[in-house]
Symmetry: C2
Subunit: 330 residues, 2 copies
DNA sequence: ATGAAAGCGCTAACAT
DNA sequence: ATGTTAGCGCTTTCAT
C-alpha cells in the first residue's frame, strides 16, 4: 500500500506475466481483450504508474525535451515555451525549460544536456552564442527556434523572416508619408538584429531614400534606458527623424519615453514602431504599433519538427508569418 | 566511440571494477588517491557521464525538483522560478517548472508529478486550488511558496506577510493625508486577496476610519480592463476616493488608465498604490508606487526548505520581508 | 496471445 | 581499499 507498486505487483494482481502488463501499457504487441481488461483493472486498483527510470533504462528514452531559454523573464520567450509545452504534452512529452539567464546558467544547463536525460533539444539561444551548445548536443536531435542563419541549414529551424518583417514595418512608415526614418537596433551580434537592419535599409532604398548612418543607432542592450538614450541622440541630429523603427518593444518604449522627455509627442511629432508585440505593447500609452511574431506557433512548430526528426523524418525548415499590429504609436 | 560509454567502459579503461568507478563518482566510499586518478582520467578520456536512468533506478532519486507554476507569462512567478533554479543548481538539482496555464494544463502536470520522477515539489499554486495537488503529492516532500494558510501548518511554506504588507501600503497613503482610500481587490478566493483586504481594513480602523463597502471593489480577475472598470465605478461614487490601493500592479495600471480616461490626474487627483513590483511598474508612466515582494528569495528559500525536508530535517515556515517602493503614482 | 528470461547502467551490500 | 554480485523496474527478444 504505502510503497509504490511495481509492474510485478500489477502482474501478480492480474494473474499475468510482467511482459503482458508491459504490452498493454505500451501497446507494443496485441493482447487479448479479456486480459487487457484484467490488467487495466489491476493498474487502476493499485494506482500503478510505470517507473520512469526502469522504462528509461530499457528504452533509452525519457520523454523529456530540453528547451534552452535565454531569459525566462522575457515574455517573448515565455510565450514560445508555452506553445512548445502545449503540443509536447499532447504527444506525451514533457518539456524541460532551462533559463540561461544571459549565460549565467550555462554550466548547469550544459550538465542537464549532457546527462543524456533529454531525448531532444529545442534551442532558443541566438546564433552567435550557439557554438558551445552545438558541440554538446552533437548527435542528439535538435532544432533551432526564432533565429537561423544560412550556414546552419543542416539543422532544422523555425523562425519568422526577420528581414521581411523589418521591411514591412518601415514600409508602413513610408506609406504614412515619413521620409526621415530612424532605426534603433539592439546588438548586431544578434542575427535578427542584422537581418532587421537589412530589411530597414532595403525598404528605404526601394523608396529611393538614402540610408544615413546617423539615423541608425545601435544600443548594445535591449533596455528601456538604452531606448531613451537613442532617442536623445536622434533628437540631437540637425534634421531629426519623424519616425523611429525600434527592433523591440522594450527599445520602442524607451524611445517614446525619451522623446516625451524632450517634449515630443508620439505619434504626432515622431512616430514609433516596435517589434515583438509583448503584452505591455497594448497597455503602454500610447499603445504600441509593432510587429508581432506568432510566438506560440514558433514553439509548437519547433516541437513538431523535433519529434519528426526523432522519428527519423527529414523535417527541413519553416518560416512562420509575422504581422504588423497597428495601434497608436505610429 | 559513437555510442555513449557506460560505467563498464570506464572500469575497463581504468583497470578497476565498476564498483570502484561508482565510488569515485559518488564519493560514497574512500578510494585510494592513485586509483581515483586513474578512474578520473578514464572518465575524462571517454567523456563519460553517468546514465541518469541507471542511477535513478538504483537510488530512487532523480535530482529533479518539480515546480508547479500557475502562469509562466506572469513575471511575478518567473522571478520566483529564477530564484529557485539558481539555488537548486548550486545544490546539484534541476528544477522542472511546469506551467499550469490557469489550470488548463493540470492533467499533464499531474502526470509528471505522479510519474515519480521528481524528488520533491515546490508549489506556487494558490491555496484554493491546491486540493488536487495535495492528494497527488501525498507522501512526497513538498513546500508551498507565496501563499499559506493556518490550516496547512503541517506543510512547510514560505511567503511574505500579505496582511502586513497591505497595512503598510494603506498606512503610507494615510501618512500622505488620504482619508478616502479605496481597495481594488482581485478575487477573494485567493488567500492573499483576503489577507490583503484584512490588512487594508486594519489600517483604516487603526486610523479610526470606517470601512465603507462602496470603496471596496472586487474584480474577479487580474486584468488591466478589470482595473479600469473598478476605477470607473469608484469615480461614480458620491464621494470618490482620493487614493486607491490595488492588490496587483496589473490592476493598478488598469486603475490609472481608467482614472485618466475620466480626466483625473495621477497622483495629483487620485493616488494609486499597486502590489508586486513587476518590471512594468517602473516603466509605466507614472511609475508605480507599489509593494515589492522578494521574488527570487521566495524561490530560493523554497528550494532550501525542500532540500532540508528531503534530508529529514524539520524545516518549519518562513516569512520573508516585503518593502514599499515609492515612485510617482502615490 | 502469453510467458520466461536476458539485459539496460547503476548503486550498495557483502566479501575479501 | 577493492572486487563480486544482487537487485532497482522495465522492455524486448525468444520460446511456446
Amino acid at each position: 500500500m504505502s510503497t509504490k507498486p511495481s509492474i510485478n505487483a500489477v502482474a501478480h494482481q492480474a494473474g499475468v506475466s510482467i511482459a503482458t502488463v508491459s504490452r498493454v501499457l505500451t501497446g507494443s504487441k496485441p493482447v487479448s481483450a479479456e486480459t487487457r481488461l484484467r490488467v487495466q483493472a489491476a493498474v487502476q486498483a493499485l494506482g500503478y504508474r510505470a517507473n520512469p527510470f526502469g522504462r528509461g533504462l530499457s528504452t533509452g528514452r525519457s520523454g523529456v525535451l530540453l528547451m534552452l531559454v535565454p531569459d525566462f523573464a522575457n515574455p517573448y520567450y515565455a510565450e514560445i515555451v508555452r506553445g512548445a509545452v502545449s503540443v509536447a504534452r499532447q504527444r506525451g512529452y514533457t518539456v524541460l525549460p532551462v533559463d540561461l539567464e544571459g549565460s549565467a546558467n550555462n554550466e548547469a544547463s550544459l550538465q542537464v544536456l549532457q546527462s543524456g536525460l533529454p531525448d531532444g533539444v529545442i534551442n532558443l539561444v541566438p546564433v552567435h552564442e550557439r557554438a558551445a551548445w552545438a558541440k554538446a548536443a552533437e548527435g542528439r536531435p535538435w532544432v533551432h527556434c526564432s533565429e537561423f542563419q544560412p550556414d546552419e541549414m543542416s539543422i532544422p529551424h523555425v523562425s519568422i523572416d526577420h528581414r521581411q518583417a523589418a521591411t514591412d514595418a518601415v514600409q508602413y512608415l513610408l506609406n504614412r508619408g515619413h521620409r526621415r526614418i530612424a532605426l534603433v537596433n539592439s546588438d548586431e551580434r544578434f542575427l535578427y538584429a542584422r537581418q532587421r537592419r537589412e530589411g530597414y535599409e532595403l525598404a528605404l532604398r526601394r523608396a529611393d531614400i538614402a540610408v544615413e548612418t546617423g539615423r541608425i543607432r545601435t544600443t548594445g542592450t535591449n533596455s528601456y534606458a538604452a531606448g531613451s538614450l537613442a532617442a536623445a541622440a536622434l533628437l540631437s541630429l540637425v534634421t531629426p527623424p519623424t519616425a523611429v523603427f525600434a527592433v523591440s518593444d522594450t527599445l520602442a518604449i524607451g524611445v517614446i519615453k525619451g522623446l516625451r522627455r524632450a517634449g515630443r509627442r508620439v505619434p504626432e511629432d515622431t512616430a514609433v514602431v516596435g517589434f515583438d508585440d509583448v503584452p505591455i505593447a497594448e497597455v503602454f500609452e500610447p499603445a504600441l504599433t509593432t510587429v508581432g511574431q506568432p510566438m506560440q506557433d514558433l514553439g509548437a512548430a519547433a516541437v513538431v519538427m523535433l519529434l519528426g526528426q526523432m522519428e527519423g523524418q527529414i523535417v527541413g525548415h519553416r518560416i512562420l508569418p509575422h504581422r504588423l499590429v497597428v495601434r497608436e504609436s505610429a
